[in-house]
Symmetry: C2
Subunit: 344 residues, 2 copies
């Protein structure tokens, strides 16, 4: 089984975009918010949007299951207050739930959180519980920078985040550390901002004792761990200079990188330096890069090809990256697969 | 000849730190600034500080010349107003000039700029001219984020920077894009912040026509180009999705990455994906990582070993990386080497 742990619903029905635009405008102009009941998204529309994209790519690329969450750049935690963020988040999560109900063998949900700039992460606990307990989701995307590009939230190792981590541990679900769309003109959302947030997060974790406090907390760093594998020597060196252990030990059962790295030399590097137990297969499709690599003739984000081709993984290693590690990192995944198979 | 294009004076005389501390405190408390005349730094002290570190490492590692600038994390462009930044910058640059005068065969200067948060980069032109014309410096370090960690300056492709670029072109000197110390608790100065600034800068350049405007402008992205080589496919894909050319073409004679990547797989990746004409040898010593890699027995920042060992470079390629490219990127370098040799 090949599990893609990082997919976003980026082909949403048009009316979702209309609603969000209305909501954002209403926030800006301080006019009444659009009614949720006005949203028109039929099952047929959702089905078509998935069949023509994510499901098509699953079939073409020979992957089986995508751990699926709302469009990351759309979370927009810098827009409006908590009530706005919560309504938008519930709508997006409910939509993921509908996708999972329509394609129970192909998609399992991960939720967006109603984070809000300056607001305690505790306020996201209720929606996390709803998604895990009522909708059968197996994880969440936690935004380390709700400002949308200025990196002014407390580090992930700050007690600010602890109540939320306690709930993650209690529910036995991991968080993928994933920022949203960038409103800072100096950073490009999918180019520099996503990767910078990843690198920032790993560096925070390297120098902290967070996992002594939360030994069961599991954090996934997307986009191949940002810049960290390429600069593995730099980060190892900084860790050792600071009397911290080797990175492999720091990552342990707590930090995982995905394989959203869009060329063969990058995947070769990742699989050479990062322990195989800490790598999760992912493609981020349909997402950051939509095009075909003219040098290979295949989509840049067809990461299965790179993982299949790398000389650094044995068959047993590959099984871990494609399936085994995901089962470990998402403890609710196995039961949810069975539950959804029963619904198929 | 092996030219290390990225070295900082990080072993400065004690009184420099005393002065800066006094200056920073005075800014904070709005009390009188310390007098520059009070600074006590003897030639003997400077000589000893270099002989025991940068010069020792040059000899041990078999490199010949370091393009040398003030401690990057010490530039502190977020501290005080322009007058404060200017005084501090002049002191730091004069100190580099003294090092170059004491060791004319081993060090050639690159200057810090008196940038100030919110202040136009034009205000740095005068100090750049002084350093190039009077002190014989061959380049500068340009800070893309004078806020010290919040990335809130206009992108490097904004007209905000143009008057400064015009002066760079007129003087025929390149700029290394290099942030300073981070005052944002979410980012670690040498771990995440430096790399994030590099990645941010490259992404800005990829989507712009800056070099059509300034065909002779040369920008060096340190720390191996941040996350870019590891995510070469992602950046290529984003460029192509945006109807931009291949990255190799975009880099052309304008963008260069250094080799401050502290492990063999990282240098192997860099030299595999980035055109050899766009790679400059550098170590960043004595800088971000001071320790010895327990797995190799050598300093993490002894990057010559990785460049020597990589299978991706021919002898001719290696000559470019070690010397030829630097001569091209720093047009004033050759004459300055000869000038300083005459003084030796």
């Amino acid at each position: 089984m090949i599990i893609d742990c990082h997919g976003h619903y980026t082909t949403e029905p048009k009316d979702l975009h209309r609603f969000r635009k209305d909501q954002t405008e209403a926030v800006k102009n301080k006019t009444p918010l659009p009614p949720r009941a006005g949203l028109k998204m039929s099952d047929d529309e959702i089905r078509a949007s998935i069949e023509g994209a994510q499901l098509k790519f699953q079939r073409e690329r020979g992957t089986d299951l995508t751990i699926f969450s709302p469009r990351a750049s759309g979370m927009g935690h810098h827009i409006g207050d908590f009530a706005v963020s919560q309504e938008w988040t519930q709508i997006c999560n409910d939509l993921i739930h509908r996708v999972c109900a329509l394609f129970p063998k192909n998609f399992i949900g991960v939720c967006q959180l109603p984070q809000t700039q300056g607001e305690s992460p505790s306020s996201s606990i209720k929606e996390l519980e709803r998604c895990v307990k009522e909708l059968g989701f197996v994880g969440c995307n936690l935004n380390p920078d709700p400002s949308g590009g200025y990196f002014n939230a407390p580090p992930l190792t700050d007690k600010w985040w602890y109540p939320f981590y306690e709930k993650l541990v209690e529910l036995d679900v991991p968080a993928m550390i994933h920022v949203s769309g960038c409103c800072n003109p100096a950073q490009h959302t999918t180019g520099s901002y996503y990767l910078n947030a990843d690198t920032m997060a790993v560096m925070q974790l390297i120098l902290s004792d967070l996992f002594k406090q939360f030994p069961k907390l599991k954090l996934i760093i997307p986009h191949g761990g940002g810049a960290v594998p390429y600069h593995w020597g730099r980060f190892r060196g900084i860790a050792l200079d600071n009397k911290r252990p080797e990175l492999a030990e720091i990552m342990g059962n707590n930090i995982f990188f995905d394989t959203c790295v869009y060329h063969q030399p990058g995947i070769d590097l990742l699989t050479k330096v990062v322990p195989v137990d800490n790598i999760l297969f992912a493609s981020e499709m349909v997402g950051a890069v939509k095009g075909v690599d003219p040098k290979t003739g295949f989509n840049f984000d067809d990461t299965r090809r790179y993982v299949d081709a790398t000389p650094n993984l044995s068959a047993a290693d590959r099984q871990k990256v494609f399936e085994g590690n995901a089962m470990k990192v998402y403890p609710r995944l196995k039961a949810q697969i069975q539950r959804q198979a029963g619904n198929a």
